[in-house]
């Protein structure tokens, strides 16, 4: 006999909101790695070229941001102890950014600085504004505002700052909106996105989810506030130094603040790992923890950039810096988190009402573990080969690395599709 529904059960975000972002991101990864394969010669050139801009924005927006949009719509309730304000706003975010991103990438690829880039930037900004409103209203209506909510709120505001600044740079290509050429301001745009959006959000989400998945005894909210202060302080000081046009030595201050924030976060994860109840850590968590270590590489590269200023080797190092972030840290993190979140979203959709009514597979059985292993191996080896290729400027390493990364992307898409298309076996 059926009783009433479950008292006290909070509705979480619908899979219909989340899954399109995952599909979009996986296609973007494939496009990004194909573009990389055809344009490995860009590692011999200046970082401000059409192809570099096209690949960077494919990876930053199509891959990293779209997947994080999807995951954050799903995980926001866990982070802020409140439900997502609006599914409709999330659909609109997908619509606007989903149209804007390929336009932007195409605009950069053919370097059309006219209507293509401008309309793309406007569309992306519309999507990002709606995302920011959705996040901020969700937090405003939530029961508790813990430190994680502050990370997410700050990240969404920084994201809007990034895309709005990007719009100004695009307009500045054809109209003299800013005092100097757009390339001069590129580092501000890039760091608003990298530190403000990606790093702030990843630390906010990671500091909540990593101890949760490990069932760790460790909790230290004060430490997280310090991390929040260091990361945001690092970015704000960088922006101030850029605006004041100070000598390069000043940037060590921002870099060291950022480094302290990252090290504190790394230590937070280490302590959480050390006192975990769940000793058997799955592969998805292992690759996510690897991404925490990978955060250090771009900082080390940036220290080298500053130390070697104004050496001609800097071009190489700047490309290495960008590669380590987009194909290193962000990609590893997403590889881990996709297979930690997507199987549960689909499992919930397919088996939620079938639970305890016949045998159901575990969520982790929704994807092929061997394909996941192959993805991890090709990805890690591709990443290492590319580091050698960029540092030593060897085409053999660059091409081999690009092939390996493309293979990793194919394995990723295969496993993502396997999960998304999963159907229950007939009993």
């Amino acid at each position: 006999m059926m009783g009433p529904g479950v008292v006290g059960l909070q509705q979480t975000t619908s899979y219909k909101v989340v899954v399109p972002f995952y599909i979009y991101a996986s296609i973007s990864l494939l496009v990004g790695t194909v573009l990389l394969l055809f344009h490995t010669d860009l590692f011999h050139q200046h970082h401000f070229t059409p192809y570099t801009l096209a690949i960077t924005h494919t990876m930053a927006l199509g891959w990293g941001t779209m997947l994080i949009f999807g995951a954050s719509h799903q995980l926001l309730p866990v982070l802020i102890s409140g439900k997502l304000h609006s599914n409709f706003l999330a659909y609109l975010t997908f619509l606007f950014t989903g149209i804007g991103i390929p336009l932007l990438v195409y605009g950069f690829y053919i370097f059309n600085t006219g209507w293509i880039l401008k309309s793309a930037a406007v569309l992306i900004n519309c999507g990002v504004i709606l995302y920011m409103i959705n996040v901020l209203l969700s937090i405003y209506h939530s029961e508790k505002n813990e430190v994680h909510a502050w990370f997410v709120a700050a990240a969404s505001i920084w994201l809007f700052s990034t895309t709005f600044y990007g719009l100004l740079l695009v307009i500045n290509f054809t109209s003299s909106l800013l005092p100097r050429e757009s390339v001069t301001y590129l580092s501000i745009h890039a760091h608003l996105g990298l530190i403000g959006w990606f790093l702030t959000l990843v630390i906010g989400v990671g500091s909540r989810l990593i101890p949760m998945f490990l069932i760790s005894k460790y909790a230290n909210e004060r430490n997280l506030w310090w991390i929040f202060a260091f990361i945001n302080g690092s970015l704000i000081s960088f922006l101030v130094f850029k605006i004041l046009n100070v000598s390069p030595e000043f940037y060590y201050v921002s870099l060291i603040m950022g480094l302290i924030g990252i090290l504190l976060f790394g230590n937070h994860c280490r302590l959480a790992y050390k006192v975990r109840i769940r000793k058997n850590v799955d592969n998805q968590m292992k690759i996510s923890l690897l991404s925490v270590l990978q955060m250090i590489i771009p900082v080390a590269v940036m220290l080298a950039v500053l130390a070697l200023l104004p050496s001609t080797k800097n071009q190489n190092l700047i490309l290495l810096y960008g590669f380590c972030i987009f194909f290193g840290w962000i990609t590893a993190l997403i590889f881990g988190m996709t297979f930690k979140t997507l199987p549960f979203i689909i499992w919930n959709k397919v088996y939620q009402k079938k639970a305890h009514k016949g045998k159901t597979p575990a969520p982790k059985e929704l994807f092929n573990e061997r394909v996941y292993q192959a993805m991890s191996i090709t990805y890690i080896s591709g990443f290492i080969f590319m580091l050698f290729g960029i540092i030593f400027q060897k085409d053999f390493f660059l091409k081999t690395a690009a092939v390996l990364l493309l293979m990793a992307a194919v394995f990723y898409v295969y496993n993502s599709a396997t999960i998304i298309l999963h159907k229950p076996k007939k009993q």
């Binding site: 006999m1 059926m2 479950v6 006290g8 979480t12 799903q74 409140g82 969520p363």
Partner: protein
């Protein structure tokens, strides 16, 4: 953590079923995970009241876990009215995992 009940005998029947209900993320059953707080039985009204929690309030798997719990109780007590109530007071933490649960997790 022990489960409070007003009927030890029926509680054991209920728990035997609930030991088969896993938290899909952890892979551990909800009893050893410490999610089940209380099971009360009303023989006159043929009603089961179960109070439980989730590892986090907005757990994405919450619907699945509570559906599974309800289905299990319906199997154990057919023709009875089943009420499943979630509470977050007290909130779940790792100290609620049973020794068997900790062993399962490799602790």
């Amino acid at each position: 953590m022990s489960v409070y009940t007003n009927d030890q005998e029926k509680s054991e029947i209920a728990l035997a079923g609930l030991y088969q209900v896993d938290d899909p993320e952890v892979g551990l059953n909800i009893v050893d995970l410490g999610l089940v707080y209380q099971i009360d039985f009303d023989d006159a009204k043929k009603k089961v009241d179960l109070i439980m929690t989730l590892t986090t309030q907005f757990c994405p798997m919450g619907d699945a876990i509570t559906s599974d719990t309800r289905n299990s109780l319906e199997e154990s007590f057919p023709e009875w009215e089943i009420n499943v109530e979630l509470t977050f007071d007290p909130a779940w933490d790792y100290t609620m995992i049973s020794p068997e649960g900790k062993e399962f997790l490799g602790h």
